[in-house]
Homo-oligomer: 339 residues x 2
């Protein structure tokens, strides 16, 4: 990596570093929006974030994105070199359109066009897991690795693979969507058209849903969860982990089951993509080293040898990864963004 240097804004320096300079990275998840301003070394200069719930509808969520972005924009003199947004969705990077975002409940939203208009700078659109993978691969836990998989367990579950030194794209830009590996044949309903998906067991929304069902089935056993969450609607994935930490048996059972399902999905990912490095990222993983250790154990015990030799690590950037990756991808010329 080149050393960080203050960027001059004379025409001459522009010619010498056409893809350097400051870049805006945005991240639109199911419950949060985030913006970061990064320099050409990937260092975060400024950041902002806010809650934005998918129930608010596309127009309001986009307003929240624009507000977060504006708070990060550089002052007058510092022209922006590029901007990108990572979305928990299947996107078309060529047109900047969000095709299908189950957890946002969006379909066919021309997000790139709207943001480009609002911010006055071209905003490119990327899948969030792919952006996070790119950040970890080029700046984070996966630097120098040719075969890695980055598994992102947040509200939803996504992922992306680097195989033979290339970020996989797929026929419709959706390779690595391992959140929708069926791990329980005929099992729980997912937000996608499938059943029994990995995400329907370990995604943040699914952990909360499983907990609410368990509490409904046995309200006595669920008392600690209900107290912590101040009522059924307040039960979220964090509530379950925190209540388990405090020793509550029902919450502990839910966490143990989550670990088992996380192992199932990770074993599938490692057997299918055969990475040398498995990077775990996303809100459910952040701050929970025991989940990383559990996945490492499952993979070692249950994967095919020699795929089982994979190294399992936590992401370097945690929840910042998608925004950083969107900035990094946006600072590259369009044609080489995926290689």
């Amino acid at each position: 990596m080149p050393n960080p240097r203050p960027r001059g804004n004379s025409p001459k320096s522009r010619t010498r570093r056409p893809y350097g300079g400051l870049t805006l990275g945005l991240d639109l998840g199911a419950t949060k929006v985030r913006a970061v301003l990064v320099d050409r070394t990937g260092r975060v200069i400024r950041s902002s974030g806010r809650l934005a719930h998918s129930n608010d509808g596309p127009a309001n969520v986009i307003k929240a994105v624009v507000r977060a972005a504006r708070r990060c924009l550089p002052e007058g003199g510092d022209a922006l070199r590029g901007a990108g947004i990572a979305v928990a969705a299947q996107v078309d990077p060529a047109t900047g359109r969000v095709r299908h975002a189950p957890n946002l409940r969006w379909k066919n939203v021309p997000l790139g066009r709207i943001l480009t208009h609002e911010l006055g700078v071209q905003v490119r659109v990327f899948n969030d897991a792919r952006a996070a993978t790119y950040a970890e691969w080029t700046l984070g836990a996966g630097v120098g690795c040719e075969d890695l998989f980055c598994l992102v367990v947040g509200t939803g579950v996504g992922g992306s693979a680097v195989v033979g030194g290339r970020l996989l794209e797929g026929g419709t830009h959706a390779a690595g969507e391992v959140g929708h590996l069926p791990i329980v044949s005929g099992g729980r309903r997912c937000h996608c058209p499938g059943r029994g998906c990995f995400e329907a067991y370990v995604g943040g929304w699914a952990i909360a849903e499983r907990a609410r069902e368990a509490v409904r089935a046995d309200p006595r056993a669920g008392r600690a969860l209900l107290l912590k969450a101040r009522g059924m609607p307040g039960i979220r994935a964090e509530t379950v982990f925190e209540t388990a930490d405090a020793g509550d048996p029902l919450a502990r059972r839910l966490v143990t089951e989550t670990e088992r399902y996380l192992g199932d999905g990770a074993v599938g990912v490692v057997n299918a993509f055969n990475p040398s490095l498995l990077i775990l990222a996303g809100g459910v993983i952040t701050g929970r080293p025991e989940l990383v250790r559990g996945v490492a154990r499952a993979v070692k015990q249950r994967c095919q040898p020699p795929a089982a030799g994979v190294r399992v690590v936590r992401a370097r950037f945690g929840e910042l990864a998608p925004a950083l990756g969107a900035a990094a991808l946006a600072s590259r010329p369009a044609r080489s963004a995926w290689s």
Copy 2:
């Protein structure tokens, strides 16, 4: 593809077509060995095959391979341009070593070295699913496609992916081993260290095992299967399909369940690799167009849009694909064999 032309064996023609000429392709599965002699257009000039059971141990199975290969070798004048063997195993293509073949019960067999010695020609070693995929991609159902997955359902279940015009390799040459995607969390034991694997439900051995268990649990309902198979040990995957074709309720239930599990695995493969084309190959699929239709339906209904737009077809070469692919891969220079 160039037109088929009789190959001259003058030094001049050798110089002009350094990787053309006759190639030997071998296929070592869990229950059969096969040899084909192909010309530079992929046309089969000669073939031979025989049953060889994994219980016979590596030495006897290798003898059977050598016998099948010798029956296909060209006469004196026609020097062989290369030879390759496809094995239902995790292999190291650089050393020709079979690392782990659960269905053959082999570990660390230097197959390439042994066969090279026995046949007097360098024999390169490939994973069978990867070889089959290469055959379908370069000569068969996938010609011209940049993003495809070839799912091979035989005694075991394997697969391989072409993504962005490259056959995926993985950190230890095992990318695409989707037979070991867990599809039933905590489910049936597999021949690998895992549980609930795709292969443990739809591999030929697993269909037979599930049928034997069903017959044991209800011998009355299993009468037709027992009759057809002439006793419990004779029950194989074919027995189940044939007995179901004759209308037997137990066999039909087993086939319906197999179709559901096949759908689960195929949905996982399509969501994970996002191919434009899914090619179904292997002994369990061959001659069963209804299985191909069932997979196409499952994928369309249960995959994430737009990945669900994948086209599902049957392999062109059926059970010949691994041997053809091994020949095709062996006829290329080592460095470009995977691109």
